[in-house]
Amino acid sequence: MKRAERLVAIAFVVAIVAALALFVVYIRGGNAQAEGALLFLALGGVGVGMTVWATRLMPRFRDETHPRRHDEPATQQEMDAAVDDMGSGVEEIRRRRFLSRLLAGAAGALGLAALIPIRSLGSAPGSSLFTTQWTEGARLVLDDGSPVTRDTLEVGSFTTVFPEGFVGSADSQAVLIRVEPGQLQLPPDRLADAPEGLVVYSKICTHAGCPLGLYLAETHELRCPCHQSTFDVLDGAEPVYGPAPRPLPQLPIEIDADGGLRATGDFTAPVGPSFWDGP
């Protein structure tokens, strides 16, 4: 047996053995690693065998040279005839101007009608991008549904909050951060909305809408894990670094008689990334 022939034979035998072993592995409950290794041997064996067979054991099939084109190029006459054929067909349709215009009208009307099912694909945006589930008096709760009080957070820490009844809501998610009361540098009318250093901002980045997962307590910055937009918590969540163009909207809150936190309205601006009608 020639060396190449022996090589092909070995490759095929490896493939047969590996494929049979695959059955055994499967019947005994399966194992991803064993399956991967055996599939490699089975498929690779077939592949190597065929490749070696083709390259080393087919001396009768040498490289051949063929012309690139089999059809004669069209003559100028044929080209002209083709143009005429196309043109006369168009002319025949155009000749009846009234009917051809009606046909164009029908096509246009059908195109218009096709917009109807496209319209069904989604609800109208309306004011949905401008509002969230936060309303006046809505209680702030954690992601397990438990209410937040003035004592839930230590100074320097943060948590994710939702309006009661809407835990997990994508557009209402907010971060509650507690800082020293004197540190906040909000405009006077917004300072009252952050009592005792408890300030709430939308958790959705104004860049691409990722949830802001990182709070750098030392510098009082919120950072987005997606594109590193960074917002200054003390300064009204103004963007201080990265691609975010706008500050995070603030949620006005108050402390009720029982020490619980409640919203006094919706966010100060639409949450999330910018859009045509947005700010």
């Binding site: 945006p125 991008l129 691609p243």
Partner: protein, 467 residues
């Protein structure tokens, strides 16, 4: 004989035997780099096979359920039916994990091989007339491939994929005038709408694969009709094609390569973990993983988003969102330039001739310079797309790294381009004026005191004539 009867029977009905004979003798030029397109095709075949298997178990629903499967850390957690079904495929369906991971690896190989094939075609000028149509179809397949990958890795409804979706939604939202409506129509309403998963599923398993199959068929039909390019060599001309006949040599070799590709991809699928959704956890709109990187072919887009300055434009009470330029306009320009490159180049060179020879990169220094600059540009953007990981690795601040990357993004492609241009020019000059090997001679002193010159017997003919 059965083959005889089959061929007779078909010929009786289709008069196709001369076509069949010609097809069996069709030749394909041989060069290692011509294999890259084949590799793309075979990865796609394996994607269809493994994908069909996965679709038997996948549930495209955001409805929630309580996880009760064998993965203990997830026990009792509320997850979507989609996430639950992918967990089941991974950990309970026998051979499911191999299939799923092979599918993901095949997707990466599909895109990597396609990009490598594109680069090969670009640098060898194989896109020139008459093959511009193949190029256009190829670029369309590249975009479709990115779409297939994106819709695919969103399906498991895990934390990583949900974040990616959210970014795309935001990009659509940023389009002037129609962005809001477009986002609502495509995503079914404000993100995350319940219609989204079934839509992604249908795009991923029906619409995009059907499109790809159609484009692929056209791509192959064009190669079949126009013949493959080849490098100049002994016995070749522009008007002829020289290579291995399809039957049986090329066919056996090609199928062999397909099997080797399948073998390597299934091995990766079995042995190398990819997209471990049980570690990421289910999608929650208020959580994001950190660090978060998309699959490699979307890395440059992610890099663009990370490096782009926070420019936002306001006009007449309207807003053009920050994302519009880096996520919509710039990629749009890049793909447009890529698509029309053959026509740009032909016009710049006033080249209307038909070309069947593939060029060496040195033969077109300007094109090669643009190619090298482009590669540098994309590599830097991909690095920017993982700047958080890179910063940690290099132990520098992300801000510092970003500044450096922004500068490099403008400098490195230019340097790469100029350098490539010079290297190509020098190589070409050397080809045109090869350095002659000095012919060796032996001087022998003769009786008269002079010298006789005779050729060195150790120098072979071959050495004496080679450049």
């Amino acid at each position: 004989m059965i083959v005889r009867r089959l061929i007779d029977g078909v010929d009786d009905r289709l008069d196709s035997t001369s076509f069949l004979r010609r097809s069996l003798h069709k030749v394909f030029p041989d060069h290692w780099s011509f294999m890259l397109g084949e590799l793309t095709l075979y990865s796609f075949v394996l994607l269809l096979l493994t994908g069909t298997f996965l679709s038997m178990f996948y549930v495209a629903s955001p409805e929630t359920t309580t996880y009760t499967g064998p993965y203990a850390p997830m026990a009792g957690r509320t997850v979507s039916l989609a996430y639950d079904s992918v967990m089941r495929i991974s950990l309970e369906v026998r051979a499911g994990l191999v299939m799923r991971q092979t599918h993901h690896w095949s997707a990466l190989m599909f895109m990597a091989a396609m990009v490598a094939h594109l680069v090969r075609v670009f640098f060898t000028g194989a896109f020139r007339k008459p093959r511009e149509m193949s190029w256009l179809i190829g670029v369309t397949m590249l975009v479709s491939g990115i779409g297939a990958g994106f819709t695919g890795y969103s399906l498991p409804d895990d934390l990583l994929s949900g974040t990616g979706l959210r970014i795309i939604y935001s990009a659509v939202l940023s389009i002037p005038l129609i962005g809001t409506w477009l986002a609502y129509l495509f995503f079914g309403g404000e993100f995350p709408a319940p219609e989204l998963l079934p839509r992604l599923f249908v795009m991923h398993v029906l619409f995009i694969p059907a499109l790809l199959v159609g484009l692929l068929s056209a791509h192959l039909a064009l190669v079949w009709r126009q013949t493959h390019t080849q490098f100049p060599g002994p016995g070749t001309t522009e008007e002829t094609v020289t290579g291995t006949p399809v039957w049986p040599k090329f066919a056996l070799k090609a199928i062999g390569l397909a099997f080797v590709t399948f073998g390597v991809l299934t091995m990766l699928g079995g042995l190398v973990q990819i997209n471990p959704i049980w570690l990421y956890g289910p999608f929650q709109p208020y959580n994001a993983p950190s660090p978060a990187q998309p699959d490699f072919y979307a890395g440059w887009l992610e890099g663009l988003l990370r490096l782009w300055p926070n420019w936002e434009f306001h006009l007449f009470g309207h807003t053009i969102g920050e994302l519009f330029l880096p996520a919509v306009v710039v990629p749009g320009i890049i793909f447009t330039v890529l698509a029309i490159w053959p026509f740009l180049e032909a016009r710049a060179k006033r080249d209307t001739a038909t070309h069947h020879y593939a060029q060496r990169p040195r033969e077109a220094p300007v094109r090669s310079a643009f190619g090298a600059g482009g590669i540098a540009f994309f590599v830097l953007l991909m690095l920017a797309g993982s700047n958080d990981v890179l910063a940690k690795f290099l132990q520098v601040e992300v801000d510092t790294l970003n500044t450096v990357l922004k500068v490099l993004l403008f400098v490195v492609p230019v340097i790469a381009g100029v350098l490539t241009w010079r290297i190509c020019r020098d190589l070409r000059a050397r080809d045109e004026r090869p350095i002659k090997t000095p012919s060796r001679v032996v001087f022998r002193r003769n009786a008269a005191g002079g010298f006789d010159e005779e050729p060195d017997p150790s120098t072979t003919d071959h050495e004496r004539t080679s450049p």
